[in-house]
Symmetry: D2
């Protein structure tokens, strides 16, 4: 996965300073798995973004981004969900700060299932129901909903990079599907 830095970050940390920090510190991220649920709370669909990477490859991705200085984890979750899914998505941020897992993206492949060539990112991962209309924004081309069965398909998982396919599987396992 190539984690992207949105422009709104610039007021917090200039690009070159962030680049320096990325060589020295683990950077805190959140990963969100947007889902549709039925009236009993059963997950019926999982939303994946279609992105074009810097190298021009097309990948499927979770909603993901950095937690800023003096920003709460739940605010970062909301901000990235709104940034990627649009202002009408109505995400329901989890009540509890306990994530379903912690994904450790290492710059060196193979240390964990997660890899990010640019940095050591440690990401708190949550499953987030969205109830409104989603319209992909910015560098996301499209948001596609998959049934839990489709989302476990090997070909789909292969379109995800940096270990996000593993993270998707962990999220689905957590919600029992």
């Amino acid at each position: 996965m190539t984690h992207t830095t949105s422009q709104s970050d610039s007021s917090w940390l200039a690009g070159e300073e962030l680049d320096a920090a990325r060589q020295r510190l683990p950077i805190l991220y959140v990963d969100a798995l947007p889902v549709r649920v039925d009236g009993q709370g059963v997950v019926t669909a999982v939303g994946l973004l279609l992105r074009v990477t810097g190298e021009g490859t097309i990948t499927r991705a979770l909603v993901s981004g950095r937690v800023l200085y003096h920003e709460r984890v739940r605010s970062a979750l909301l901000r990235h969900l709104e940034k990627d899914l649009g202002p009408l998505a109505l995400p329901k941020v989890p009540l509890a700060p306990q994530p379903f897992t912690v994904a450790e993206y290492f710059p060196t492949p193979g240390v964990t299932p997660f890899h990010d060539p640019r940095q050591h990112a440690v990401s708190l991962a949550y499953v987030v129901p969205v109830e409104g209309d989603c319209a992909p924004q910015q560098d996301a081309l499209e948001l596609t909903w998959f049934t839990p069965e489709e989302a476990r398909d090997q070909r789909l998982l292969a379109e995800m990079t940096g270990g996000q396919g593993a993270l998707l599987r962990m999220g689905l396992a957590h919600v029992g599907v």
Copy 2:
């Protein structure tokens, strides 16, 4: 806590058979802590029922009840929330089956923090946001909303029986307040 059996149970298990089973098997329950949350998922209030026990004592209680034969845990949660809070409460049942804790109510006091003189009940406990209008039903006199600070008050906790005060504290700890 004296767990109550609603009349709708009768089609599943006649009263005397259930009484016999209660002397022989742990009985599966759910406990729900109804909460109000703000737009960022922060718990702003906790709902407690005011009940009159069989002995005429007034107690504060969580939403609680048995899981029936061939009933899913999430359906039991919804059923008991609707039974106690009314049909317009709009509870959001958790996506994941993982409870925040498992409360083991023993007929013998002191084995665990939880006690139920009538039976050995094992209860899966969840925090459940409710978004609609709550109207206490059946044997609940009233539903009162407390701020998380008020809900930690020793006098309030003392009005709860069977260890539900401890369970309330565990639920609040889980959501980070």
Copy 3:
């Protein structure tokens, strides 16, 4: 999965009474995924039992069994681990009662990923490190250790019944492998 009843249950509940209860109530179970861990707590191997079912089929299985009347969940976990892995297995029962998931085995296939033709069993599932020597006991023919990669193999998962393959995958996802 055909959950088995050990003889030691007989003092708690006579066979025919239990059979009657099984038609009327959800029965509380525990499922344990025995694992070996390295010094950093990373799961290096998963233990699966080889069992012969009543029909003579050979299956792979998790450690699984009923919670008895007046028995704590953690005591039930220990009892079933010792029954299946022998007295020298030295299992480390989890500190927290929170299971990684709750598996709902329905007598009707397809309601959940879990199925038990004999009963409606609701099982609290835990990953349990075992540090000692394991010697399969009673109706278990063998205990085999698999690496996490081997344990995700489709052929291995196909040898598990009642949805325990799904439960194994959920447990592995929970520990991040």
Copy 4:
């Protein structure tokens, strides 16, 4: 809480650079609640460090520290436990990366229950059984074991700073005591 930086950090990030990053980025921490458990996994005692802060005040504290660049969360946990409790403590790092909560220490008091005047620290919190002999090291004067009941005492909690009293209560709630 005044999170301390050990000298071993210096090879990773020079002091002034870290100070600069601390004004710009959330810094990733781990908090560990060391516990003694009995043979059934029940927590029987909680270990708290006695520390002298830079201002000369004596406080009780959890084991806590920074996650370094290219360090796994579980390695950071082990490193800080060994640093504070000595090399013979034999901590059992949790198998699952899922923390019991995430403590967000803000430089501004009141945003969350957690406060750190020097930085915005986001800490993954775990309960960790230790089986060996503990000998406080470095800037810890003493390690004292308290029963879970003693650990909930208001006076003891008042000796903890930065919200670690709240974190201790959350950890105890998680393990069901």
